[in-house]
Each structure stands twice: as structure tokens, then as C-alpha cells.
Point group: C2
Chain length 480, copies 2
């Protein structure tokens, strides 16, 4: 079993050096690697297949709420990007500029899109006329480019994949409802399908998206106690509509500006899956999103009938709708087990001569390593039960971890202690002033406001930092 | 019916001015429009939904042949693009260059990908080591940018959407098989699902892809008699492998270069759907690819029970798996009919008080305008038969048109006459010399070699232009 050892030994222990463990898992599971373009990733088959499943699942949820998909250009003229003041201020330092087309210099520079609010608004300003044209509930799946200085696979790279939804509405209420609706779509998807429990709420002024009136966020807790912003939904009010002059005439022929929203989830979420569920043997994928749900591994496959029976099993499971593969390579079973574990495939099915004799197979759970003997006649139904159980257990374990890492503080001493020992989310009261937010970050050595949850608790009447009257209870944490 | 007239009158007659008709249909069916970035399109919901169906269908076919999806960066360093001589010569004049990242000038320019052979090869040169790593059969769905001077919606734009498959293999035979396999996947898809009959074969030397040893093509005939190259599959041999040093060690530990292929279909194919099937009332979409297969249109919807029954019908059709929508707006039925026809929705179902009384509906075919009375009890099964019939009839009509526009010529006089009167494809013998190809184009005023079909006929022993011994029978035509 020398080989088997080698594969596991190629990754650092998670509790020893979390950052290195993360890098090792991404590399050994062949999810992505760095391309020849500094800070840009190659999304390799194992990683991209996870993204494809996320896309399919989210896209279905979007369409059930009336979303239509579109595709707008990868380039944005500089003049367009500049139309909304806060927006250009937020993005100018981190965009890449196209200055030459073919052999000629361009008259106006284009940036490679960092986000597409300006393109959607430009289109709508030219095409929306009447209340009959509203609402527009559009989305695009694409990549965006942000010229980051430091990068990490999935978490922060110069180019990343995402969806960006953009909508316009006749009324304030409808736009606000859409903002919250999409937050809830994300929340439901991440909790149910990715088995990742969340803390959700509004961002503070300083953490909002450039140009937004309100930014809602879903925040997940990684195994190292750090928070990962995993999806956002923005309410713009009339900010962009006024900057781009998007007006419609109502039934009485009166002109009004539209209300706008945008919302996005990116490949960053793959980082969350790794850091919430992964262990010292590698990736652990939630069954609902796993590209392969089970891998059939023949034991003593050189013996007569084993490969045949294993293939038969794979085909019947495939026909029953499972995402299933077989490993019939000439590697040793031990090596095959290690590889299946590294890839995070939720179950493997071991089938050898003795199993065939007894008309059974052995299902091994990736998350708990529990071995379950199942009769060959029942495997088609049992496997689905086992996968559902894994999905539920993964969420429950992550929820227990999250709950044990949410604490509260009413003094800065308390906050400092909890932030530096327990990590996780710390609930504390805040006066609403940006200066206090900055001071808290400085005093704790990195605690930022993650969100203002909808369900408020009154831990104290006073801001934890300045002692003035508290306005909100805020979740604080160290963020990726 | 003033409004109804207006919608149809907004498009030019197809036989009067084909180019204008095309532009009008694209605009009125709201498939795409020009963005604020010169030559770049906004793919709007009606157009993008067609692309989504094309993607889903092709992607399924790809995966059945073992293709894995990936995503590689949107930017390519200049030094990488230059590694293969023919490739850079072909693409340098038409790429857009990124020269600044954030606020700083870059040390090396990046181009926005015009195609990604160089990125795939760069990755493989670093990761492929042994025969066990082969083959790689990868594909990505993305957009590419080519700085075209003149543009037309779908047919030629600076940015377009496509899939690009890239594969490497241990042997010449395996790579060649893959090249032809993908051509056949395209052929089957376009003929069966888009109802577009094809002429297929190899490209001549001068029409090949930059860097390829062989380019295979599928060519469709538009209603104006012009040809549209609709998909290509390239065999590179070792050209790129040698330029990028992609080597693997075989079982005996000997080093060999890999053999490579690439293949692509783009949003251009949407142009083919429009120009093969469309008519004076607008778009006509093949049922298998139509985003909406039937639109329920209530007649006298203000009368009691009509809207209710129409919605009931829609819901039962949706439950039965049809892609169905209802038009319950306050527009007149005539206007609704015009709009459904403009959008190319393959059928509409009219349902009014009398129909309800008689427990029936009226299905109207978009392609022939035939009205079919169907009992309400049978609509769920009948509709699928009608859609299949439409699909078949659309292909048959296009095939009849194609067949009547394939002629042959053995003298240049004959070729000139047929090329300028009948248009379409002209079969003629060719010596294989590039100069003759150029002379034929000049003499006819635009006939280019479309492909050398696999099934050769001997029309004459001599090249139609120079009279020297003929090597191939070639399909000639005027191309988009």
C-alpha cells in the first residue's frame, strides 16, 4: 500500500496548516491550476464539472422565478464605465484595459468587464419606453476580470466565472422584493444543495457594492474559523437609472425612472465547498452537487467475472439515474480508494469475488468512512437513501460547527478574546458609524462587519466600541 | 387589424431584399442588437434562448463521446500566441490587445482570446507526461473576439459565442478519427435538430484554419443561394505539439509528440436557422430547438371561462413536457398571431368559446399556416406528432431547395452562367493549385471553394480553369 500512502501524504494536515492544506487539495484533486496568465486560472475538468452542476441547479431556480438569460459584451467603453460615479471609483483601480484592436490603436479604451451594470443600463436606456416593457429580469453566465494583486485558487483570481443577474422594475417595492427573493434563492441553494449553513443579512455602508443602496449577503464559515462572503444581492434604487436615464412612461403617460437590482454568485463558492467539508484525505463533495456520486471499484478484478459484474452494476446504476463511474484501471484497490477519497466522490462501491458470491456489495461513505453491506438486489434504492443521508449529515455537522462558532461580546476585551481564540462570528452592538467599524477592525486585528442580520437581538444598548447608543447588532468576523 | 399589419409590414419582403429582410427579422424578433461597443452584440433573451438549446443539445452529444468541459483564461500572453508561426500570422491582424492592468502598464501585452489552441497546448506541455495521461478530450463554451472591420448580426461580429473543443492523442489514427467524429456530431445535430441539410468535406489549402493540416467543414445553403460555413473540425497533426513541446512517454519509456485536433460551432449557426427557414412573416424555428414550441392564444378572452380553460391547457401541456407559453396580454388576437409568427414559434393553439363548447382547440402550424382541429382530449399526444411533422417537413423543404441548387460545370462559361443565375453550390473539377482557385474566384466574381466532399464524382479529367489533370471535385459557391 505504498502508493496509497503517497497520495494522502501529498497533502498537508488540515489542522496543521490550513492554507497549505487548501492549496494541496486543489492541486491533488485537479480542480484548477494557474495558467500562463498571472493570476488567471485554468478550470480543469474536475473543478469545472462542479461549476456545471452549480450552474444547472441555480439556473433552474432562477428560471422558476421568471429570469431570462442573455449575453452582453466582454468589453465596456471607458465612457460608459464612468457614467455612475461610485461605480467607476470602485472599479477603476482593478480593471484591464484594451487599447489596440488589430494593428491599430483605439480611439477610446475598453475595459474587460469587471461586472456589467453599465452595459445592461446602456441597453435599457435605449430600449425601455413604456410600463409594458417592465420588469426586465435578466441574467448572464460569464467570466469577469479584476486585476487583483494577490490571488488564491477559486477565492480570489484575476478572472473568475460567475452569474450576474440584472433587473429593472417600475416600483421600489417590486425591486426590493426581487433583491430579497434572489438572496433567498442563494440561501436555499447553498444550504440545501451545498450543505453549507449560512448567516445572512445586509452589509454596512462601507462593505456595500460600488453604487448600491443596499447589499444583502450570504456568509459561510470555513473550517479555519474565517468567513467567506458567498453571494450578494444588491438594491440600487434609482442610482443607475438616473445616471443612465432609464425612464418609462406609465399608463397616464408620465415619465418615471426605473428601480434596479443585481445579484451574483461566483466560482468562489467552490472554495467554500472545499473549506467547509474537506478533510485530511482531500475533498468531500455534497452528493447533490457531486459530478460523480459513486465510483464502482472492483476488487481482485483479474478474477473471472468480477469486471463483468462491476460493469453490470455501473450500467444499472447509470440507468437508474445515478452519476456513476467505474475505476477499472490497473492500479491497486488501495490506490483507487485514496483517489476516490481525494476527489471527494461521496461513495464508493467495492465489489469482489466474495461479494458476488454473497450477492452483495460494500458501499463506503466518503464523509464517515462507514462501510455498509447492501444486497445487490437493493442497491438501486439503498444508494439513494445513503446519498441523502450523507447530504443531511454533512449539513448537520457544518451547522454544529457554525453554531459553536457564533458567540457574542459586549465589551472590546471580550470581543478581542473571542475573536482571537474561538474565531467564527461574533455578535456585537454597533452605533452605525463607519469610524467605529474601522476602529474595531484595527483593535481586534482584522474583525470586519460581515452583515446586519434581519433577526436582531439586543445584547446591550451601547455600541461595543464608542459606547454611544447602538443601532444594530452586527456579525463580525475575519473574512477571506 | 391595423396593428397586425404593422408588425408584418415592419419587415422587408425576403425576395425583394434578402439582406434587409435578415436585418429586419433579427430586430423585430428581438434576437440581438448592437451594443455600445462597435461590432459587438447584445444577445437578447429570444436569441440567447436559441443558443441555450443549441448548447444543451450539442453538449449532451459531446459528453456521449467522452468530452470533458473546462474553462481556460480569456487572455493570452503575446509570447504564447506567437509560438506557432502560421497561427500568429492568421490571427495577429484581428486580435484586441490588453496593455494596462489596473493603473499600470503591463510588461507583456495580452490579447483577448480569438481561439484557444495556444492556452490548451501551454497547459498540456506542463502537465502531460505519460501515455496514461492520454487522450485529453476537452471542450469549452465561451466567447472569442476578432477585430472584424465589417459586421452582421450572428454572421460576423467582433465578439461571438462558441464552443471550442481541443483534444490530444497518442496516435495519428486516433486524432484523425476524433476530427471526423466531431464533424459527424455536427452534421447529425444540424441536420436532425436544426433541420438544415448540409454539404460536407475537407477545405482546400487556402481555406484551412491557421495552423491546421486538415480542416473539415459543414456547409449550409441560405435561401439567397449563398453558402454559410457552419462548423469546422481541424486535424493539426503534430504542428502545435512540436511548437509547444507536448510529449509523452510510452510504455517503453520512449518520448513522442502528441497529435492534436480542435473543432467549433458558433452563434453563426443562428444566422443559418434564420436564413434557411425564415419567411416574409419572420422567423420559423425548428421545433426541436425552439425555446417555445407552442403559444396558447385565447380568443375572446374576456368571455367567461376562456382564460381559465386556456391556462388549464397550458399547464397540462407544460406538465406533459412541452415548452409552452400563453399570451394573455390585452393585445388583439390578430396582433398576437403576428407576434407568434414573427418569433417563429412552431405552433400556436387558438382556444375560444366555441372551441371550448366543442371540446376542441385549433393548432396552427407556423411553417405552412395549416389549421388543425384537435380534440381537447387528444392534444397532449397530437401536438407532439404535429411538431415532429413540422420538423420533418422543414428539413425536406430545405433539402429540396438545396438539391435544386447543386449543379455541375465542366467549362468556365458554364460555371459563370450557373454561378450568376442559379447560385447555390457548383460542382467542378480542380487541379489542386492555389492559383487556379484564385483565378476561378476572380473570373466568376466571387466563387470560392467550399469543400472537397468525401464522395467524389469524376465530371471530367481536367481542371475547369487550367485544363491540367484534375485532382479533386470541389463544391464552389459564394460564401457569407
Amino acid at each position: 500500500m505504498a502508493k496509497e500512502k503517497k497520495l494522502v501524504e501529498s497533502i498537508t494536515s488540515r489542522d496543521e496548516d490550513f492554507a497549505q492544506w487548501y492549496t494541496d487539495v486543489v492541486r491533488e484533486a485537479k480542480l484548477c491550476d494557474y495558467s500562463g496568465v498571472k493570476g488567471c486560472l485554468n478550470y480543469l475538468p474536475n473543478g469545472y464539472a462542479i461549476w456545471e452542476n452549480i450552474q444547472a441547479d441555480l439556473d433552474k431556480r432562477f428560471k422558476e422565478t421568471g429570469v431570462e438569460n442573455v449575453y452582453l459584451p466582454v468589453l465596456i467603453p471607458e465612457s460608459l464605465l464612468q457614467k455612475e460615479k461610485d461605480h467607476i471609483e470602485g472599479f477603476a483601480p482593478e480593471v484591464a484595459w484594451v487599447t489596440h484592436g488589430g494593428l491599430e490603436p483605439l480611439q477610446e479604451r475598453f475595459c474587460v468587464r469587471p461586472t456589467s451594470e453599465t452595459l445592461f443600463c446602456d441597453h435599457w436606456s435605449k430600449t425601455v419606453q413604456s410600463y409594458r416593457d417592465l420588469p426586465k429580469v435578466w441574467n448572464q453566465w460569464c467570466s469577469v476580470l479584476r486585476w487583483e494583486k494577490t490571488t488564491r485558487p477559486f477565492l480570489r483570481s484575476r478572472e473568475f466565472l460567475w452569474q450576474e443577474g440584472h433587473t429593472i422594475h417600475a416600483t421600489y417595492e417590486e425591486a426590493e422584493q426581487r433583491t430579497v427573493m434572489m438572496l433567498n434563492v442563494y440561501k436555499d441553494f447553498v444550504q440545501n444543495d451545498l450543505a453549507i449553513p449560512l448567516v445572512t443579512g445586509r452589509k454596512t455602508e462601507s462593505e456595500k457594492f460600488a453604487g448600491a443602496q443596499d447589499t444583502y449577503t450570504i456568509e459561510a464559515l470555513m473550517h479555519d474559523g474565517k468567513a467567506l462572503q458567498s453571494g450578494t444581492s444588491h438594491f440600487f434604487g434609482k442610482t443607475f437609472a438616473d445616471a443612465f436615464d432609464i425612464k418609462y412612461s406609465d399608463k397616464n403617460n408620465e415619465l418615471h425612472s426605473v428601480y434596479e437590482t443585481s445579484w451574483g454568485v461566483s466560482t468562489r463558492i467552490i472554495g467554500a465547498i472545499i473549506m467547509v467539508h474537506g478533510d485530511d484525505s482531500g475533498l468531500v463533495l455534497p452528493p447533490r452537487i457531486a459530478p460523480v456520486q459513486t465510483r464502482v471499484i472492483p476488487i481482485a478484478q483479474h478474477k473471472e467475472g468480477v469486471l463483468e459484474k462491476a460493469n453490470e452494476l455501473m450500467n444499472s446504476l447509470k440507468a437508474a439515474g445515478y452519476r456513476v463511474k467505474i475505476d477499472d484501471t490497473d492500479k491497486s484497490p488501495g490506490w483507487k480508494f485514496s483517489e476516490q477519497e481525494m476527489l471527494g466522490i461521496p461513495t464508493r462501491i467495492e465489489i469482489g469475488p466474495k461479494d458476488i458470491e454473497n450477492n452483495q456489495v460494500v458501499v463506503v461513505r466518503r464523509d464517515t468512512r462507514e462501510k455498509i453491506v447492501v444486497s445487490m438486489d437493493e442497491i438501486e434504492t439503498k444508494l439513494s437513501e445513503i446519498l441523502e443521508k450523507i447530504q443531511k449529515d454533512m449539513f448537520d455537522r457544518a451547522k454544529t460547527f457554525l453554531d459553536s462558532h457564533i458567540t457574542s461580546a459586549v465589551t472590546m476585551d471580550e470581543m478581542n478574546e473571542k475573536f482571537n481564540e474561538n474565531k467564527g462570528f461574533i455578535k456585537a452592538m454597533w452605533c452605525g458609524e463607519e469610524t467605529c467599524e474601522e476602529e474595531i477592525k484595527a483593535a481586534t486585528g482584522g474583525a470586519t462587519s460581515r452583515c446586519i442580520p434581519e433577526e436582531q437581538e439586543c445584547l446591550s444598548d451601547k455600541c461595543i466600541f464608542c459606547g454611544k447608543p447602538a443601532k444594530h447588532m452586527v456579525y463580525w468576523g475575519k473574512a477571506y
